[in-house]
């Protein structure tokens, strides 16, 4: 498999400033790929179920949908031990600082999935009480539409995230919105797709 164009190559210079590791040579390449594979195979979410979406997230971890077979064996209660934050539910004004604090405590590299309409854009509740989309306070990698999204949809988002992580897991974000990643191949049409769509 040829090396996918990474975010570094797409000309996003700031990534170099944030200490993204550059490994040189063939052994470096193998080590990078090993690192990527290890990280995408063991994305451990931090327990951040807020509201109704949390129930579907629990359904995803139950036996019918079973996210453990994709590597998310456990949901860690401590953010220090997790690398994925699935914001499952609506983020109230009071909860915003808490969310940011938990996100900050997660070690790099970390990813965020905005699960559901409320986390993506507050969905039904366009009012004073909610932070209008969690991407106002944390950078989001994958948005999952639905109110609540079915466990299938959330699993799909985790699989998409795994593809992105497998392509390059070393981009540190430090508060920046994730730049467009490499193209997610969709079967035979993959070759025709321009990167970064």
């Amino acid at each position: 498999m040829s090396e996918q164009p990474t975010a570094h190559d797409a000309g996003h210079g700031h990534d170099h400033d944030h200490g993204a590791e550059q490994r040189s040579g063939a052994p470096g390449f193998v080590l990078s790929k090993l690192e990527d594979w290890a990280r995408e195979s063991s994305l451990w979410p931090v327990t951040f179920g807020l509201a109704c979406c949390a129930i579907e997230m629990m359904a995803m971890s139950a036996s019918r949908f079973d996210v453990a077979r994709f590597g998310s064996e456990v949901f860690r209660a401590s953010p220090r031990q997790a690398d994925l934050m699935i914001v499952a539910g609506r983020v109230a004004q009071k909860m915003g600082p808490v969310l940011r604090e938990v996100y900050d405590q997660m070690p790099e590299p970390k990813w965020v999935i905005a699960m559901g309409d409320c986390a993506s854009c507050t969905g039904v509740f366009n009012n004073y009480a909610l932070i209008q989309g969690v991407d106002k306070i944390v950078p989001v990698d994958v948005y999952v539409p639905g109110c609540p999204p079915t466990p299938d949809a959330l699993l799909d988002s985790i699989l998409k995230l795994k593809q992105r992580v497998a392509a390059n897991s070393r981009t540190l974000r430090h508060g920046l919105q994730t730049p467009p990643g490499p193209a997610i191949p969709r079967g035979a049409a993959a070759a025709q797709q321009p990167p970064g769509v």
Binding site: Q93, K94, N126, N127, Y128, A129, Q132
Partner: protein
């Protein structure tokens, strides 16, 4: 005490004689007694008689169980907020609604009904009604440094304008 028969089932049928008499007897200062669309007898008392009326409701009238306390912003210049108390009688199996009007203050019920604690804090938080005698009157739903009382009908919903990217792409900007 005689109990005229309100039907135990929710009042889907019209009762020819609403049970006003025991209510008026126990609450002589009631400004208004009626039956609402849900069949629940509703009594409005002046604010200064509120605690006394609640004592009567929970004592004589037997509606000991405190169910709910909320407020309605009637958008009037005077006595803007309507406090709505809901009580339930375990013996008679009926609800009773007690209302009063206030501008911004009301006596707290927490002395006799500990369960009213959070309800009063919620009304203070969202409407700005102060309950005198409350042990811990502070915001409960919104952050402590929030300014304003959102459930007042003069305060906006606080929605943000929604931009549709689809229309922007198809029809141009705007």
């Amino acid at each position: 005490m005689t109990t005229p028969a309100p039907p135990a089932a929710p009042a889907e049928t019209e009762t020819p004689e609403p049970p006003h008499d025991p209510l008026r007897a126990a609450l002589p200062h009631a400004a208004e007694v009626s039956i609402a669309a849900d069949g629940i007898p509703t009594v409005r008392v002046p604010l200064e008689r509120l605690l006394e009326a609640i004592e009567r409701v929970r004592g004589e009238l037997g509606h000991t169980r405190f169910v709910d306390l909320t407020a309605v912003d009637r958008l009037q210049r005077e006595e803007r907020f309507e406090l709505v108390y809901l009580f339930y009688s375990l013996d008679q199996r009926t609800w009773l609604r007690l209302k009063t009007r206030t501008d911004a203050e009301a006596p707290s019920l927490t002395g006799s009904v500990p369960g009213a604690n959070w309800y009063e804090r919620e009304l203070y938080d969202l409407f700005g009604i102060r309950f005198s005698g409350h042990p811990d009157l502070c915001r409960i739903m919104l952050p402590d440094d929030w300014r304003g009382h959102p459930l007042r009908r003069t305060e906006p919903l606080g929605s943000e304008p929604v931009d549709f990217t689809v229309t922007r792409g198809v029809y141009g900007t705007g």
